[in-house]
């Protein structure tokens, strides 16, 4: 489907790399159209488990590594407004719920986005993903109906297709595939193993299904009222 211009896009995810896996191509396409994109990344992925063996990082050095990876990934996607929100990985769901809603409301009030990209609550697997999605949905639900931005929600729980059906919003991002790969590569500490495996399989003439490099899919989150 062809992308329509947006006034401003607010991307809200908890971990550096959530945006690259789910949305790097979509973000790059919108940036190429000149649409402003703000990425609010709630944590620095401090609790990432992949430290390597032999290790390339420690539990204490990982956040700074991932901060730099996030900045590099944003360059690959063309994001000029990156907000690192200072929460800690794996603790988002334990923050005060109202504080979380206010965090999102403040961003909406400042940026007046026409579209928000985040996770789909109930189908986002990781507790931080779920907490992020809940905060975004609640912040938007509290707005006047006419003023609400649309929400593109990322869902990948195992029961997603059974419960939500086929995602209605499908972006062909093959024209910016190289930018998506660059964004994923930028998150080296998280993706090196996966990227190496992809190359290895390609060299052996049996590339992985590369649909996720070429297609990004979303559900449109809607409210009852």
């Amino acid at each position: 489907m062809t992308l329509q211009p947006e006034r401003h896009i607010l991307v809200v995810f908890p971990h550096p790399d959530d945006e690259a896996f789910s949305s790097a191509g979509t973000i790059r396409l919108f940036r190429n159209m000149g649409v402003p994109v703000t990425y609010a990344c709630l944590t620095l992925g401090e609790m990432g488990r992949n430290l390597g063996n032999p290790p390339f990082a420690t539990r204490e050095s990982l956040p700074e590594i991932r901060r730099n990876e996030l900045i590099a990934a944003c360059e690959a996607m063309g994001i000029e407004d990156l907000r690192m929100m200072g929460l800690r990985d794996k603790t988002v769901e334990f923050e005060d719920d109202e504080k979380m809603v206010k965090l999102v409301t403040d961003l909406i009030n400042e940026l007046n986005p026409s579209l928000i990209i985040t996770f789909y609550p109930g189908y986002a697997v990781h507790p931080d993903h779920e907490a992020t999605a809940r905060a975004v949905i609640e912040a938007v639900r509290r707005m006047e109906k006419e003023k609400r931005p649309r929400i593109y929600a990322v869902a990948f729980a195992n029961n997603t297709m059974a419960k939500l059906g086929v995602p209605p919003i499908v972006h062909d991002v093959s024209s910016v595939k190289e930018d998506k790969v660059a964004a994923l590569r930028a998150h080296h500490s998280q993706t090196a193993w996966m990227m190496a495996e992809t190359n290895h399989r390609a060299e052996e003439g049996k590339p992985m299904s590369d649909s996720w490099f070429n297609v990004e899919s979303y559900y449109l989150y809607t409210f009852d009222d």
Binding site: M47, R49, N50, L51, G52, N53, P54, P55, T58, R59, E60, S61, P63, G86, R88, K90, V125, H126, P127, D128, A157, N158, W193
Partner: protein, 116 residues
């Protein structure tokens, strides 16, 4: 971090004994464990920047190693420690990295609080 050397690590544990120290203790099988395999029971525990004082710290010579701290009124221990280092801030960082390089357990000791 490098692989555990019992003598080096024991000396470092001794150096923090009988001092007020902050600890980070973490064990996890990953937030996605039951997403990838529904038979996995997902569990973990995390504690950071809790101040303790231990009278005896011991690393056991059985790889992957177990490290225990005996306190006046209780215990702290971690199982599966494979790597350690004294970092540039003088903090003793210990971790258990599984065969794929993923952290399974961490125990860290510092005289100053860890970052947030």
């Amino acid at each position: 971090m490098k692989e555990v050397n019992i003598n080096e690590l024991q000396a470092l544990l001794n150096s923090f004994a009988n001092k007020d120290v902050y600890i980070h203790l973490e064990t996890t099988n990953g937030a996605y464990a039951s997403h990838f395999d529904e038979k996995v029971f997902n569990s973990g525990a995390f504690i950071r920047n809790v101040k303790i004082r231990y009278e005896l710290g011991k690393v056991v010579d059985d790889s992957p190693h177990r490290v225990g701290l005996k306190m006046e009124h209780g215990w702290v221990y971690a199982q599966g420690i494979t790597h350690f280092e004294l970092d540039e801030h003088g903090r003793l960082l210990m971790a258990g990295l599984d065969y794929t390089g993923k952290l399974a357990v961490a125990l860290e000791i510092s005289e100053t609080p860890f970052s947030y």
